[in-house]
C-alpha cells in the first residue's frame, strides 16, 4: 500500500526532523553561551557605539586604522581565494 510506505517515510522524516531541530537549537544554546562569554570579554571593545559622532570627529586612529583594515582584509581574502583555486 502506498499509504503505508508514505507513513514510514513520514516517520523517518519525523525522527530526522526533530533530531535536526533539537541538534540545531542545542548547538545554538552552546554558541550563544560562547557568544555571551566572548562579548563579556570584548565588552569595552565597542565604545564608539556610545559616541555617535565619532566618524565625523577628528581623523582619529580608530577610523584611520579601519581604512588600512579594509584594504588589508580584502587583500588577505583575495590572496587566500587565489591560492585556494590552484
Amino acid at each position: 500500500m502506498p499509504e503505508t510506505s508514505l507513513i514510514n517515510e513520514s516517520l523517518s522524516l519525523m525522527a530526522i526532523g526533530m533530531g535536526i531541530v533539537f541538534s540545531f537549537l542545542l548547538l545554538l544554546v552552546v554558541l550563544l553561551r560562547a557568544m555571551s562569554w566572548i562579548a563579556g570579554r570584548l565588552s569595552p571593545g565597542l565604545p564608539e557605539a556610545s559616541a555617535p559622532s565619532a566618524a565625523v570627529s577628528t581623523g582619529s586612529d580608530a577610523v584611520s586604522a579601519s581604512n588600512d583594515e579594509l584594504i588589508a582584509v580584502i587583500s588577505a581574502a583575495i590572496a587566500r581565494y587565489r591560492s585556494s583555486r590552484r
Binding site: I20, L26, L27, A49
Partner: protein, 377 residues
C-alpha cells in the same frame, strides 16, 4: 435589447455559482471573526476581503489579469512577501530574553514536535477515502503547528500552493485561538507546585550581545541548514537593523511602512486562493482538524520539556513557559503569564516566557528548512 441581454449576461447573479457564493460567505465569516472576535485582524481582514473580491464572478480580480492575481504572482509565488514580513518581525522582536537564557531554546525545539506529529497525522488521513495528501502537502499542513504565519505561508507557497489558502486560514485562526487551546493542556500536565514556581530575574543583556546574536544564528543556519537561510536570513537581518543602532531610519521602515504595505497585499493575495474548488473540500476540514491537533501536541511537548527542565534545574524553571515554545508571539507568552497569575497573583512569567516564545519562531523556521530540504523538489 441586444445590449440588455449583453448586460444581463455580464451581471453577477447570472454567473455566480454555488461555490463562489459560499466562498463569499466564508470571506465574510473571516472578516466577522477578525472584527468581532479579534482573530488576528491584521491578516484575517485582508484575507477575508480578498476571498470576497476573488470570488466575484466575471470580474476575475484574483485571476491572471486581475489586480490581486498579479499581486499573488509577484509577491507570494516568488516568496518575497512572507520574507519581507519576516524581516519586519525581526525588526520588531526583542531577543533579549533568549540571549539572557539560551537554554529556553530547548523549549522552542520541543514545541516543534507538533509539526512532525501532524505530518504523520496528515499522511495517516490518506487511509480515509477522499484524502490524498502527498508528502509535500503533509509537510505544508504540518507547519501550521509552528504557529507562525509567514513561515507557514512561505513553506506552503513552495510545497503545496493549492493548499495555501486553507493553510494560511488555519494557521492564523489557531494562532488567534491560542488562549482557548493552551490553558487546559497546561493545567492538565502540570501540578500546582510546578505552576507556582517563581523564576530568577533575567540578567541584563549587553548591546554587543544583541548585535552578535543575529550573526550567530545566521552562521549556524548557513553551515547546517541553508534551506532555512531565506527565512532565518531575513529575520536576523531585520533584527540587526533594530539592534545595530546606526540605521534607525531603515529599522523604522522595516517595522512600519514595509510590513504594513506588504501585509495588506499578502492578505489579499492569500484570500485569492480561497476558491471553492480549492477550499471547499474535505481536505480543508482535514487541515482544520490537523491544525488543532498540531497546536495541542506542540503545547504538550513544550510543557513536557518544561517539566524536564524543572527537574533538571532542581525546580528553578516553571514548566508553564514551555507552552510559549509554539511561538504565536506574543500571545502564547501572555497566556503563560495569565495561567501563572491564576496560581500566584504575584508571579509574572511574561518575560520568562518571551525566551521560549521567540525561540519558537527560530524553531519553526528551522523545521520549515528541514521540510524544504527533505521533501522539496
Amino acid at each position: 435589447m441586444d445590449e440588455l441581454l449583453k448586460l444581463w449576461q455580464s451581471m453577477g447573479i447570472a454567473n455566480m455559482d454555488w461555490g463562489q457564493a459560499l466562498m463569499i460567505a466564508v470571506g465574510c465569516g473571516l472578516v466577522y471573526l477578525a472584527i468581532a472576535k479579534k482573530f488576528e485582524p491584521l491578516l484575517l481582514v485582508p484575507i477575508g476581503f480578498g476571498a470576497i473580491l476573488s470570488n466575484i464572478p466575471i470580474a476575475g480580480i484574483g485571476g491572471p489579469d486581475g489586480m490581486i492575481g498579479m499581486v499573488y504572482e509577484v509577491g507570494v509565488e516568488t516568496g518575497v512577501f512572507p520574507l519581507l514580513i519576516f524581516m519586519g518581525v525581526g525588526a520588531l522582536t526583542d531577543f533579549g530574553a533568549l540571549i539572557a537564557r539560551p537554554s529556553t531554546l530547548l523549549l522552542g525545539a520541543a514545541a516543534q514536535f507538533g509539526i512532525f506529529a501532524t505530518l504523520i497525522g496528515a499522511v495517516a488521513l490518506n487511509f480515509i477515502p477522499g484524502f490524498d495528501f502527498t508528502l509535500q502537502d503533509a509537510s505544508a499542513i504540518a507547519i501550521i503547528g509552528g504557529a507562525d504565519g509567514p513561515t507557514a505561508i512561505f513553506l506552503a507557497s513552495r510545497l503545496a500552493p493549492d493548499l495555501l489558502g486553507a493553510i494560511a486560514v488555519a494557521a492564523y485562526s489557531y494562532m488567534a485561538l491560542v488562549p482557548i487551546i493552551q490553558p487546559p493542556i497546561m493545567r492538565l500536565l502540570t501540578t500546582k507546585q510546578e505552576r507556582v514556581v517563581v523564576m530568577q530575574q533575567l540578567r541584563p543583556v549587553s548591546r554587543l550581545e544583541r548585535i552578535l546574536f543575529p550573526f550567530v544564528v545566521l552562521l549556524l543556519c548557513a553551515l547546517v541548514l541553508p534551506s532555512a537561510a531565506p527565512l532565518i536570513g531575513m529575520l536576523t537581518f531585520g533584527n540587526l537593523l533594530r539592534e545595530s543602532g546606526v540605521v534607525e531610519r531603515l529599522s523604522r521602515a522595516a517595522q512600519n511602512e514595509i510590513i504594513n504595505a506588504v501585509t495588506i497585499m499578502l492578505g489579499l493575495a492569500i484570500g485569492s486562493k480561497l476558491s471553492a474548488d480549492k477550499f471547499l473540500t474535505v481536505e480543508t476540514l482535514g487541515i482544520l482538524v490537523l491544525g488543532a491537533l498540531a497546536f495541542s501536541i506542540g503545547t504538550t511537548a513544550g510543557v513536557l520539556m518544561g517539566k524536564i527542565m524543572y527537574r533538571a534545574t532542581g525546580g528553578k524553571v516553571n514548566p508553564l513557559i514551555g507552552a510559549a515554545g509554539v511561538s504565536a508571539v506574543p500571545m502564547a507568552a501572555r497566556v503563560v503569564n495569565r495561567v501563572g497569575l491564576d496560581e500566584n497573583h504575584h508571579n509574572f512569567l511574561l518575560m520568562h516566557a518571551m525566551g521560549p516564545n521567540v525561540a519558537g519562531v527560530i524553531g519553526s523556521a528551522v523545521a520549515a528548512g528541514v521540510l524544504l530540504a527533505l521533501t522539496g523538489s
